[in-house]
Amino acid sequence: MNDPVFVVGVGVISGIGNNVAECLDALVEGKTGIDKIKYLRTNHSDLLPAAEVKLSNDELSAMSGLAPATSRTAMLSMIAAQEAWAHSGVKKNIPSLRTGFVSASTTGGIDKTEEFLTHFLIDNNKGKLRDIINHECDSITTMVADKLGIRNHISTISTACSSSANAIMYGARLIKHNMLDAVVAGGTDALTRFTLNGFNTLLVLDGKYCRPFDENRSGLNLGEGAGYVVLVSERVASLLKRDPYCALTGYFNANDAYHQTSTSVNGDGPYMAMSGALEMGGLQPSDIDYINLHGTGTQNNDSSEGAAIQRLFHPHYPKMSSTKSFTGHTLGASAGVEAVFSVLAVHHGMIYPNLRLQTPMSAFPFVPETAFSRQADLKHVLSNSVGFGGNCSSLIFSKL
């Protein structure tokens, strides 16, 4: 049960790039993906910036091999999962394995449901059925699993903004329980009018580019994307030609049980998630070299997450940053996108900057990184996720 699980492949698409290499370049160069909304048809495009993937649905269709009328969520998932799966070499080198696809999403095919409902509301006999049949998150997952040729286990998780972290945990546990040999795990979410208007009505969107962990932060920017890691058992890792990127050494799921949409003042949820992951990995807080923050840029999240970090790490703080300053908040995909960034940080010994940080939060003695740096001896990276409904999960990736 305590056998290690290894990361042998990564794939990502986000506002800063359509694959791992492009995203990495942007992270190194400090180039944000947040911009004026260009692809989503919305009345808010002039007022609310977002980090869209810089491709139209037609372009995504060509890249993913899915029909242009497919949900954008599925196309993003396909591109990132395919990159991770192909790159891992698992299917090519060891074709007979028991494989699984555990994908997370909050939006599913709701971008298409929006189109359907526009016609349906006028006349219940109107609206193209092909626009509604993939409303469920599970349809997105199975569509991609079929294209990847994965069929031993398929499942979908939806726990708001921590969804992908729970997908990665579940995938790792299916391997540890010897039910699967290899799992593609992560998540996907497209920018939709549903989520844009939802967060706008909650008054948590910044009309300017977001400033996570800044004293004067005033909300988040939404993003979109997908991120997946390929997890394998030790046996499978030993059969592959390339060394694994790193090991997934710790994870923990806890609930803040405070409020449906905000996190407790003391950060109980994130505190429990982080300390649980450390305990599982047999690690001390001082072992963590870098924290990839949840860091949305809202007043509530950053003060709550910051309080949890202070409780756990004071007085020796690891380096930390929120890459949502690059990608925006990709919701159900965020923990997948950030897991990929965390894996790359461990693998290459890199620490990403927290963009646009001018005035550090006065409540805390720590300051997130403002410049890109390299650290060859980087051993353990902690990735945090906090979501609606109090769902908090943390993951730890460790150098081999």
Partner: protein
């Protein structure tokens, strides 16, 4: 991986909630939409909380709270839910609002409660449960994944008791859309005659069922969950038989050990062919009952089936509505639930007397 069912509570289109009688007075429906028989929630849920809750949240929270109460557990070590559609009503309200108000929706309430994890989250909030909390939205395998997660958690020794549930709701919009997709019977019929029509289409259903699972036995356990498995899109009938065979092998039982099969027949002739083929091969001679005439067809109907199996084992009684007459065996020790949802996910849940 074995779990002891300490309590099981269902709100369904039958009188299953707060009712000591066991399906002795089946509710009859004469159209293709079966609606849950809901209790007076003010007895089960704090009235201040009820006001904002949609139907699926109320159904789920009321059954989850009753389940905890029956088990005598105030705060479980984990809450795991499975729902294919999530909170459809709130999703529909907010989407409609966006479209009709031209992207100037007035209130975020429906948006906030539309997320798929709302039920698990509401439960955590209501009982202040800060432990493991997860939600599966795996279509016709949502409840099965929630069960699998619970069984794994129990064997990982991090949890001694787990609240696990499956739930889905019908809304006017979903019923209209699914009807347009041709899923339901075109002619009116009684749900109690569902299996006598030999025609296309099924009947729509909904419900919520919760279970309190423990890693140790106690005198009042209803039954045990021995194992759960899912199988994705079988390419041929032989593959399906292999899946069932290897499941039984891994559980070290023979077909003859199964005292009762609970099958997911839904009245659609094409859908049900898969069950009849298996009943002519691997399941030949095994006593079987159907359940979807009582709860309707929906992606998490196996949660209702598991509630049914737990009660049959505990009471050692198959209610008259299942038309089994007198059964030859003295004791129903092992029940196998086999269901497939639209031939995408096939699942097996093995339950036993404790």
């Amino acid at each position: 991986m074995k779990a002891y069912i300490r309590s099981a509570v269902a709100i369904s289109p039958q009188k299953t909630f707060n009712n000591p009688a066991f399906l002795d007075d089946p509710a009859e429906y004469r159209n293709s939409r079966l609606t849950s028989i809901e209790p007076d929630y003010s007895e089960a849920i704090d009235p201040r909380s009820i006001r904002r809750m949609s139907r699926i949240i109320k159904m789920s929270v009321a059954s989850a709270l009753a389940c905890l109460k029956d088990a005598g557990i105030a705060n479980p070590d984990a809450i795991v839910t499975g729902t294919a559609y999530g909170c459809l009503e709130d999703t529909g309200i907010f989407l409609t609002n966006i479209i009709q108000e031209n992207e100037e929706p007035v209130t975020p309430v429906a948006f906030v409660q539309s997320t798929h994890n709302t039920i698990g989250a509401q439960m955590a909030l209501l009982i202040k449960c800060s432990r493991y909390n997860n939600t599966f939205v795996s279509g016709g395998a949502s409840f099965e994944n929630a069960l699998l997660d619970a069984l794994m958690l129990l064997s990982e020794n991090n949890a001694a008791n787990i609240l696990v549930g499956g739930m889905d709701e019908i809304t006017d919009t979903s019923h209209t859309v699914l009807s347009r997709l041709g899923l339901y019977k075109r002619q009116p019929l009684s749900n109690l005659n569902l299996f006598n029509t030999n025609s296309k289409g099924t009947i729509n259903g909904e419900g919520a069922a919760f279970f309190l699972l423990k890693n140790t036995s106690s005198p009042n356990d209803l039954a045990c969950i021995e194992a759960v498995a899912t199988f994705y899109k079988p390419e041929a009938a032989t593959e399906l038989r292999q899946f069932i065979n290897s499941f039984l092998v891994s559980e070290s039982i023979n077909y003859s050990d199964i005292d009762l099969l609970i099958l997911g027949n839904n009245g659609d002739s094409k859908n049900d062919e898969i069950y009849s083929q298996l009943q002519q091969s691997v399941f030949k001679g095994t006593l079987s009952i159907n359940y979807k005439h009582l709860c309707g067809e929906y992606p998490t109907s196996t949660a209702f089936a598991a509630w049914l199996a737990a009660n049959i084992i505990k009471k050692n009684n198959i209610p008259v509505i299942f038309n089994q007459g007198k059964i030859s065996k003295n004791k129903i020790n092992k029940i196998l639930i086999y269901n497939h949802y639209q031939n995408i996910y096939h699942s097996l849940i093995l339950m036993s007397s404790c």
